[in-house]
């Protein structure tokens, strides 16, 4: 297959193959960056709206009072757009301690609240997770979200189709 000049079938050299591989990698990277073949691009057409609820059991009340309806929500690490807030519910903070017998006991801390934040975002709920903006999320995921000018360390509590 490789002749005395080092060419495959007398036509393509190893350097040519290397160049083709580099070109294909560069092209694939460029297409990915422009969002042409990303999962977001391929799922956008069939993504309906979903409601995703985030929960934080203990947050400073001043933070809970800052967040507002219609604030945008983003994943602080991946910078994924997680929609806009459609519902906010706050309550007493939920803190777990251990009594003298080692049992878990729930109590509240003054100055703290618990909060449920629900946002509406284009996405799909599948049997293998929730796809939003080309990224997979799962109920129980714990991560930091940004909501308008406030930030929360939350867990995904529930997901359902919107409307």
């Amino acid at each position: 297959m490789i002749d005395k000049n080092g060419k495959l079938f007398g036509k393509i050299s190893i350097i040519d193959i290397a160049l083709i591989v580099v070109f294909l990698a560069a092209a694939a990277f460029a297409l990915y960056k422009f969002g042409i073949f990303t999962p977001a691009g391929s799922t956008a057409s069939n993504a309906g709206k979903i409601r995703i609820t985030f929960f934080q059991s203990e947050v400073n009340t001043f933070t809970a009072e800052t967040v507002k309806l219609q604030d945008p929500v983003t994943d602080a690490v991946l910078n994924v757009d997680l929609g806009t807030i459609v519902d906010i519910k706050t309550g007493d903070s939920i803190s777990w301690g251990k009594d003298k017998n080692g049992r878990q006991v729930q109590s509240s801390k003054a100055g703290y609240s618990s909060i449920y934040i629900t946002s509406e975002v284009p996405g799909t709920i599948g049997s293998d997770g929730i796809t939003i903006g080309g990224y997979k999320y799962y109920i129980g995921d714990i991560f930091t979200i940004r909501t308008g000018i406030s930030t929360f360390y939350t867990r995904i509590y529930s997901v359902e189709p919107a409307g």
Binding site: A26, A27, S95, G97, D99, G148, S150
Partner: protein
């Protein structure tokens, strides 16, 4: 040695260069699209449940404030409020109770800083901050660690 033929390998190299240039141009074009908004005078409050009294006592109104990680300019101190320090522990019944420690106080520092309140956070000196974010500050001669931004509003 000048090549006389333009081979398909040359074409591949030219395409790679073109894609690279397009990528760089795209990146810079997007950066330019970020609106440049005039900075406004903001009141930024920072709260910490407990800090040593010696550190608090050294802070004066008018002291310059910087955030310790990004070295962002948080303006100057305009108000200092203190209260009993708050330390959380579990009692015998497992419920959280707060107690105070002598020599420590809770502290709220309000600073007058310049920045922009966006729909996605507050830009202060090229970094973006959020209410609830844990930060540490250099305030005058003191360092106050692990407090949280408790409020950000436009100054009247």
């Amino acid at each position: 040695m000048i090549k006389k033929k333009f081979t398909w390998i040359d074409l591949v190299i030219a395409l790679i260069i073109l894609i690279s240039i397009t990528g760089v141009v795209y990146k810079f074009t997007r950066a330019k699209l970020v609106p440049i908004t005039a900075k406004e005078k903001l009141l930024v409050s920072f709260y910490v449940e407990n800090a040593p009294d010696s550190s608090i006592a050294a802070i004066r109104e008018g002291d310059p404030v910087r955030e310790t990680v990004q070295n962002a300019d948080f303006g100057k101190v305009v108000k200092i409020e203190t209260g009993d320090s708050i330390f959380w522990e579990c009692g015998e019944d497992g419920k959280y109770i707060s107690t105070s420690r002598a020599g420590y106080s809770s502290l709220t520092i309000t600073m007058e800083a310049y920045g922009v309140i966006n729909r996605n956070g507050v830009t202060i000196d090229k970094s973006v901050y959020y209410v609830g974010q844990t930060i540490s500050l250099y305030a005058g001669k003191s360092e106050i660690n692990n407090g949280r931004i408790s409020k950000i509003v436009k100054a009247q």
